[in-house]
Structure formats: C-alpha cells, structure tokens
C-alpha cells in the first residue's frame, strides 16, 4: 500500500498528489512534502550508507542539519549529488537515488569496512600504507579514493542557469520562526525596510512542526496569518526558500534563493539566485538545532531526533514507525510523546537520563528515569534497544533529544567565540557578533517560546527605533509558558559498542578518545584527526556533542574545550550559484574593435588580447596555413601599404598647464620640451626601476597632449598616472581621461601610406614629408570634415601613420581606407604580421617588457635622463640592476638559416650541459621573417650587449629543439631607420 505511514492533518495539500521515484521504485507524496517526509510516508527507512563504514542509515532530522539522508536527485547533466532529502521540496517526477554503495542499497559490498572497523579507527591511514614507497599513488590511493567520496558528479556541463541579485534593506531578519516573525512584524510596523529570509519553503520555523498555541491560534496558523500580514506591507520583502549563508563585512550578507521549481518549467530561468544583501542592521532569529546523544549503535535507521519525529508527525502528517520510544535528557523530548499521544499513537517507552520525576504522564508508556540507552539491535531497521537498567525494549523508532544548540553561526562569522551556558547546556552567542547584528529567540539561547516571541518583538522594535523609525505600538503575541529543563548528557558508557558522534563521517566516541590519547587535544586537532564535523552536514548535530565528550574525557570545562571556528557557508552552496552568469563566453567581458564587423566580413581570424578580440590575420582564398597569410601581409605592407586596427592601444587625453612637467616625472626620458605638433617615444618605469610600459605622447597644442600605452597596460598605466597626480603631485595642473574607446585608430603603414592617406585627408591639411615629417602629430579632418588625429609614427619600421577618428566613424574609415587603397593593392594586416614587423625592427613588446627587465636590459639605458627625478630613477640605479652580466636584450639568428628557432628556448654555451648553472638566458620572441627568409628572435642573454657576433645554442628541451644561433643586434631590418623618414 502506498504511504502506509501517512496520517490525518498536517500542512500538506492532499489534492496535489506527486509521483516520484526512489532507487527506481515509483512512490507517491503530496504537495508540501519534503522528499524525506514522502519517503517516511512510504515506510522507507533505509535510505543511504555512511561514508566510511557503509553503515545502513535512515533519516535523522527534518532540516538542513541532516547527516544521513543525502542522495542523488535527477539524472544526466541534471544530477545533483549529496542532496538532503530533508530540505528537498517534493515535486512531480523527482528522481532520487541513494549513493555511496556498491551493489544494491540493502546489500552494500563495501559494508565489509564495518567489520574491519577496529583496523580503521581515527587516523589509521597516517600509520600505514607507506610501503613500498611507490604503492601509494599506484595502489593505496586509488583504492581509498574510489571508496571515499559520496555522490557522483555527472561530469557534464551544468545545464542550469544561475543568477545574481542585490538587495538593500534597513533590517535583515534571518529566520521566520516565532521570534523572526515577531521581530519582522514590529520592525515593519515601525516603517523600516525589512527583508525576512528563511531557508524553508514554508515560513514559520518550528511553529509548523509543534503544537503550540499563539494568540489563540495553532502556531502554524498564527505564522501563516503573520506572513500574510507582512506580505501585504510595502516595506517588507519576504524571501522564503532562501538560505543566508554568510555574514560579511559592513553588513553584507550572502543568501541563496532556491527557484528550482521555476527553472524546471523554463530552463532559462535561474535555478538559484545568489543574493548579496546590504543591511544596516540584522536580527538573527535562526532558532536552534537539536542534537543527539552518543550511545551504543545509535546510528541505526529508525533512530531520529525527537524534534524531527514531531515535524513529520505534525507538519507532514507522517508517523515514522509503529512502536516509537523516546530517549531524552531534557523536557523537550517529552513533547514528542505528548504529540504522539495526541495523534492517537501509544508510546512504547520514555527513557530520561535524568534522575527526576517524570515530566508528564504518558499513558501506556514505560517510563524509565535516570536510565540510558546503551545498545540497539536491527541492521537495516531498528528492532530493539537495550537500557542501562538491563531491560530490552522492542521498538522500531527511537526519538532522541540531547538538547538544543542555538544556531549562532553568523554571530561567529567574524571570529566571535560562543560562550557556554550551563542552564540550557549549550553554547550561546557571545557579546560581540558582527557589527550591526543582534540575536533573538532560541538562536540566543532563549528556549521558552513565550520569551522568544517577546524578545523578537522587542528587538524588531528597538532596532527600528535606533535607525530612526518610530517604535511599534503593537504588543507581542502571547503563548503559554512551558519550562525547559535540561541536564547535559553526552556519551553513554557503551562497552565495546561503538557510539556515533558524527554520523556521516563515521566518527565515534572511541575515535575522539583515541585522538585525545594520541595527543590531539585541541578541538581543531580532533576535528582534523578524526574528520569530525567535516561532512556535508558540517557537524551541525555532531560538534557540540563531540565537545562534550572531549570535555568529559579530558576533565575540562566546555568553554575551555571550545568550538571550532564557524565559517561560511551556513549550508553548502552550489558553485554554479556563486558563478552566476559569469561562465562560458560571459566569463569575462569581450571588447570588439571598430573594424570588427568589417574584419569578420573578411574572414579574419581573431585573437583575444586584454579582453579585446583583435584580427590575427586575414586569410585569402587558397591560403591553407597561417604563415601564408602572415608572410603575404608583411610583404605587401613593406612593399606597398597595409592597414592595421590599433584601437586597442591605450589612449589618454591629458590637458593642463603642467602636463610637460608631469610627463617629465612619469617618463624616464626627457619630456619637458616636446614641441607642439610633435610626438615623442616614451619609456615608463615602475618606481623600482623596472620597465613598465612604453608608447608615444603627442603634443597637439600648448596644453593638450595625447598619450598611447600598450594594449595590455592601458588600464594600469592610467591608474598609475592618476596615482602620480592625485597622490604625489596633486597641485600640478593636469587633467586626464582615458579615451581608448572614444577613438578608432588605424596604422597605415608602407611606402604608399602617404599616397593613400592623401586621398582621404581634406585638401587644406598638408601631410607632405616637409609639412608633416617623421614624428609629426596634428589634428586634421578627413573625408570632408570628419575630425581626426594624425600621428606619423611607425611600429613596422615603414613610412607609416596612425590615424584616429571618433569611434562612431571607425567602421566607415576602415572601409574608406580600403577603397582608397585599392589602387595600391592595400591589404589589412593582423597582429601576427604586426608582430613579425616589430621583431624585424627589434622593438621590445610584451614578452620583453615582462616586468623583470630594466631600461638598461632592454638596450634603452641611453634614453634614461640623469638630470631629473622621475618614477624609477633612484631605485633603477641599484647595484644589481646595473651589473654588466645581467640578461640583456639582443637579437638571435640561426647559424644555419634553415633552422627553426622557438620562443621559450634557453641559451647555452656551445658545449654546455643543460643545467640551471649553465643557463645563460632565453629567447623571448621569435618569428619567421619573410623579408630575411629565416627565423629571427629577440631575447635576453648574460652580458648580451657586448657579445654580438658570438655563437650560442638555443635549446628547447620541452619540444626538442637545439640550434646554434648567433648573437646579433635586435634591429634586423633597416637598422638606420631610413624607411621611416621618406
């Protein structure tokens, strides 16, 4: 029969029947169920296996603290491993499969580890598997890895979408239980802007699982009514199914909203949203989590938290067993017996470790005070329990309460340390939570519901008042006062039986004691040695229990034993949610140059450079290898004219009366006297004397300059200049703005470049060699009045110009230039040809300006001015930077012109062995020169400047290349620069 454990009542919608499968079996549940409640309704108790000993396990909790009921949900690329059944809202078609077993769930072959458990205690692996040495990677580790791990990742691309959002509020209230709702209501009534977030898909917290009456209504009804009231208020944002996972600096909280049901309908909608919530104040009302007691074989399916039994009974209308007993050390556990009776179920026994009189009458139940459970029987389901008084009781469900731990995690996210409260036998928040956070209700250790409601109400009101809102006039809701008494109880002496503390990771009392015995006495040492609290449940039910056991075993207080550090996330968070939409092509922004569309029309091959997509080369029909295209582009440029989009170079407009002085401070070479209408090459150093960037700066008018930087450093140079101005010389009259994206800029290079440009430059602008010589700069107009800037500068070594127009004209200008150049057989060239020509000319670029080379190393020592203070001057003079035997930049050419030369090769003496000691340098850039007909390279070699003519070897052991090269000048082509000036 379906759902044999289902009873009447509860907060489920019986009209909506949902089909789901567990390990292939088709089952039914209702809207409002969790996967766990539906499994229990169908009498599924064995739902998984533990991590290490593969022990049969059942559902223990009804919340996010669940250690056992973790499974794989969905299949294929949608499969989600390690998912807690206790917080997974049931939906139609849900597929759940148990994980971490070999063979069927009921006959896991790996359960052999349980019989070997005496060998596999805490830290056993540190003491063995060391012989023979090579066996670790080959044998032991693969075996361990295969048996470890829990669920399986699909290894396919996550097909879901995730999103990111930002919200701002006056007060964030975490947790929508009794105190959270009370706080939200009083704060909202005061007018403050409120966000109320709760991890459950149904707000109300424990009120939905208990039978308290509030303001004369059932607790769950009161919660529903309050939520309705809040949702009608404009200043309130309700976020259910939203788990706050971390408290960050300055009132910023991270929260994950689960929107799986929407995403299942429409894959474009996000499965989860990662919210960054900016708050002025936060009230933590996260409630408390019940803990277990460590007794012999306390991990069998059917042993549950007492509060979980009530949740299944009252909220989900499921009775988890037929013969239920209760084991407790506090008054709260008795509620389970009371609620069972109220639903008409007899309780087999109530066992209370305290030697006091029974807390209440439980008709028909055997009451055992001052008694402990010391052992249990039943491998795949609980059959009986054995008591310290010698009795054995047949029971199929044991509801255990070891007390409640306030959910104080967020109060410790900024390294707060909780303090011990003996009265409630729990750690409670200390007095220094993150700035702006206050705590109310059971999260604070206020265990009596009536008090928690008042506390929530008062906090909401007073925090709003502090923020300048008027105080709420409403009164807190009322409920009867029920006392909460507890006597701390941790491990029960259980003889040879193992008593579990951390269910998922299989850490037992013995493991903790062994760790102590072996000198691991700090709670952090115990955690690390035994893996306690490191499972997917983050030790929510285990940690305080373990601390209690340690404190007892070492004879110290709970406070001295202390907790481990609380860190985000409060519950595990999908990596996809943190990434949001930043994945695939959207991982980083993509920048396109003004000629991109035109280039794409020409079938250009693109390469990404500093987020830009630049044309790498332009293949023509019939060209099958990139070298064919690149060689052609170089030859054509050098023989006629070529055009290259150089928009990506950083462009900085600088104006003011003191620009010359400013440039003189930031450039290593003299810059004080650049005439109007001229461009000057500039080398910029870091303060430590290492080359930072190079480029040109043109003086367009007396007080107006325009600087170019390399593509890679466009942003960092601008930032540096702003630093130099704002922090070092704030009174210089200098105003800068980056105009990289405001101007499209093209290099027009080659002997016919002037002829080409003359066709588009407006007639009143004279760009003849006399009027506009090498290094000239000016503002002109083109194509009948379009404003442009023209610079006669050359990276290629040819007669060349760079022309810049406002970006909106960029695409047109490219087309105009190509059309005008047709008579010269103009070609576009890409970054490869650009690179070839710059290496032929021996210009240093990125691989040479690598942040490790000085001006001297680069052969530019002569440019350095000794007559001024500039960034990098003093530290550039340090002895090690001035040594003659530093790696200095030179050219290299293969002795045999047919030899291949590869960048990244290291340089060795002709007969030297390849060792670090013999290493003389490396080749930084290398190309085939179509003009010279062989490979050429530039690179760095010890004392290179004085070794020209010497032969060494360029050795690439990685790819197997070893060629003899001659050290030469890096200026391979037109070393006198005659072609530039014609």
């Amino acid at each position: 029969m379906s759902q044999i454990n289902r009873i009447d009542g509860g907060l489920i919608d019986r009209e909506k029947v949902l089909n789901f499968t567990f390990n292939g079996q088709i089952l039914k549940g209702y809207e409002g169920d969790t996967l766990a409640s539906a499994l229990l309704a169908n009498n599924k108790h064995l739902i998984g296996r533990s991590f290490k000993y593969h022990r049969p396990r059942g559902i223990v909790t009804a919340g996010s603290e669940e250690p056992n009921a973790i499974m794989e949900i969905g299949n294929g690329a949608y499969k989600e491993p390690n998912t807690r059944a206790t917080v997974t809202q049931l939906y139609n078609g849900l597929e759940a499969n148990s994980q971490n077993h070999r063979g069927p769930l009921s006959f896991d072959f790996m359960a052999i580890t349980d019989f070997l458990s005496p060998l596999l205690g805490a830290g056993f692996y540190y003491k063995t598997f060391m012989w023979p040495k090579a066996f670790w990677e080959k044998f032991y580790e693969p075996a361990i890895r295969k048996s470890a791990g829990l669920g399986t990742l699909s290894t396919e691309t996550d097909p879901d979408t995730y999103d990111k959002g930002f919200r701002h509020c006056d007060i964030l209230i975490i947790g929508a239980g009794a105190s959270g709702l009370s706080a939200a209501l009083s704060a909202a009534e005061s007018g403050a802007k409120i966000i109320l977030a709760d991890e459950d898909f149904l707000m109300g917290g424990r009120l939905n699982s208990e039978t308290n009456e509030i303001d004369g209504l059932a607790g769950s009804e009161w919660a529903k009514k309050t939520v309705a009231k809040l949702s009608a208020m404009e200043n309130v944002t309700l976020m259910s199914d939203t788990t706050v996972f971390g408290a960050y600096d300055h009132g910023i909280y991270g929260a994950i909203e689960n929107r799986a049901s929407e995403a299942r309908e429409d894959n474009d909608k996000p499965r989860q949203v990662n919210w960054r919530i900016y708050t002025k104040r936060t009230i933590l009302c996260a409630g408390a989590t019940e803990r277990l007691i460590a007794f012999g074989n306390n991990d069998r399916p059917g042993i549950m938290l007492a509060s979980a039994v009530r949740a299944y009974l009252n909220r989900f209308s499921v009775v988890p067993g037929q013969r239920i007993s209760v084991y407790t050390n506090n008054d709260d556990g008795w509620k389970t017996a009371k609620d069972l009776n109220a639903k008409g179920f007899r309780v087999v026994a109530v066992i209370d470790s305290r030697s006091i009189s029974p807390v209440m009458r439980v008709p028909g139940a055997e009451i055992c005070m001052g008694t402990d459970v010391i052992d249990t029987k039943g491998r795949r389901a609980l059959k009986s329990i054995q008591l310290s008084n010698g009795k054995t009781i047949e029971t199929d469900t044991l509801a255990v309460s070891g007390g409640w731990n306030p959910n104080l995690h967020f109060t410790c996210h900024h390294r707060g340390i909780p303090k011990w409260n003996e009265e409630i036998a729990s750690f409670v928040p200390d007095s220094a939570p993150p700035v702006g956070m206050s705590v109310a209700g059971r999260a604070k250790g206020t265990m009596v519901l009536a008090d928690a409601i008042i506390e929530g109400h008062n906090q909401g009101s007073s925090v709003a008042l502090e923020l300048g809102y008027k105080a709420s006039e409403s009164k807190p809701a009322t409920t009867s006062v029920v006392a909460y008494n507890i006597s701390a109880h941790w491990g029960v002496p259980s003889g040879k039986n193992r008593a579990w503390v951390d269910f998922q990771n299989d850490v037992t009392v013995k493991d903790i004691k062994l760790a102590n015995q072996e000198g691991f006495k700090s709670v952090e040492h115990v955690k690390r040695y035994t893996t306690l609290g490191m499972a997917t449940d983050q030790g929510k039910t285990a940690n305080v229990l373990a601390i209690g056991i340690m404190a007892e075993s070492m004879g110290q207080t709970m406070e001295d034993t202390g907790t481990t550090i609380f860190r985000p996330p409060y519950v595990p968070v999908a990596i996809g949610a943190f990434a949001g939409r930043r994945r695939g092509m959207e991982f980083y922004p993509t920048r396109y140059t003004p000629s991109h569309d035109w280039s794409a029309e020409q079938n250009a091959v693109f390469v990404e450079v500093g987020m830009w997509y630049r044309s790498q080369w332009f293949p023509l029909p019939g060209e099958t290898h990139w070298r064919q295209s690149v060689d052609r582009e170089v030859r054509q440029t050098r023989s006629s004219v070529g055009i290259c989009d150089v928009t990506t170079l950083g462009k900085i407009d600088i104006k003011g009366e003191d620009v010359s002085e400013f440039l003189n401070k930031v450039y290593a070479n003299a810059f004080a006297k650049v005439p109007v209408g001229k461009t000057r090459y500039g080398l910029m150093l870091r303060e430590d004397g290492i080359a930072m960037d190079d480029g040109t700066t043109a003086r367009l008018s007396e007080n107006h300059f325009v600087m170019t930087t390399t593509t890679a450093n466009a942003v960092s140079v601008y930032r540096h200049l702003q630093f130099c101005h704002q922090c070092l010389w704030p009174d210089l009259d200098v105003h800068m703005i980056s105009v990289t994206e405001q101007y499209a800029q093209y290099a027009v290079a080659g002997p016919n470049s002037r002829k080409l440009l003359e066709k588009i430059v407006d007639p009143e602008c004279d760009i003849s060699n006399e009027a506009f010589p090498y290094m000239a700069a000016g503002e002109i107009t083109v194509c009948g009045g379009v404003p442009a800037r023209l610079f006669r500068i050359s990276f290629s070594g040819e007669l060349a110009y760079e022309i810049a127009v406002p970006t909106r004209y960029g695409d047109s200008l490219m087309r105009v230039l190509m059309e005008a150049g047709e008579e010269f057989s103009v070609i576009p060239y890409g970054t490869e040809a650009l690179g070839v020509m710059r290496i032929e000319k021996g210009h240093a670029a990125g691989p040479e300006l690598n942040g490790q080379t000085s001006a001297y190393d680069l052969g530019m020592g002569g440019m350095i001015s000794g007559k001024k203070d500039f960034i990098g001057y003093t530290l550039g003079l340090r002895e090690e930077l001035q040594r003659d035997d530093r790696m200095q930049m030179v050219g290299f050419k293969p002795v045999n012109p047919n030899d291949l030369l590869l960048a990244g090769s290291h340089l060795l003496g002709l007969r030297d062995k390849a060792t670090t000691e013999n290493d003389q340098g490396w080749i930084s850039s290398c190309i085939y020169s179509p003009i010279l007909g062989h490979y050429i390279g530039i690179g760095f070699i010890k004392s290179g400047h004085s070794r020209k003519g010497e032969n060494v070897r360029a050795v690439d052991l990685v790819r197997g290349n070893d060629v003899e090269v001659e050290i030469c000048s890096p200026h391979f082509f037109d070393p006198e620069g005659e072609r530039l000036r014609v």
Binding site: I252, Y278, H414, Q726, W729, P730, L732, T874, L875, R878
Partner: protein, 96 residues
Amino acid sequence: MIIDHPLLGPRDSEEFVYLGSTDLIDRPTNWESSAAAEDFHQYQYIRENIAGDIQELWYHEQGDQSWLVVTRNTLTHEISNVELAEDFSRAKGRGK
C-alpha cells in the same frame, strides 16, 4: 566591504582597486642626495604592516577614478574614515 566615498556615497569595495599603505604618498624628494638610495628603498619596500588601524589607498576604478585614503582596521575590517587622496596628500605637504 563598503567604502563610503566622500563624493559618491557608500559603494561596494568591488568597484575599487587596492594599492596599499598611504606611505606610498611619502615619496622622497631627495633624489640627488646620497641618502636617496636608502630612503627610496624604505619608501618602496618596507612596511609597518600594522595589525590595527591603517591608512591605505583605494582607487575607484569602476567609478570616478578618485584615489581615496581609507582608514581601516586590519583585524576587524572596520572603516573609520574615508577621504580623497588628493586632500590627504596636500595636507601632508605635497604639491607640485
């Protein structure tokens, strides 16, 4: 973190680029002196690295390109003051 920009109000620190201690404002001016080598070495490389309140430089790169001086506690991350680096620098006697 949130930096309360003196001109633009509170902004997420994600909009900023961090440089380091405001000691970097105190660039020596004695480049011609024999003490310059050591002074520049101290300036560029040696840090107080205080556990507590420090004054540091943040650059509003995704904003108005201001350099800011932020007084922040390195133990708690609390920010107690934010001002424009330009003003801070002038107050320290820097000009041209």
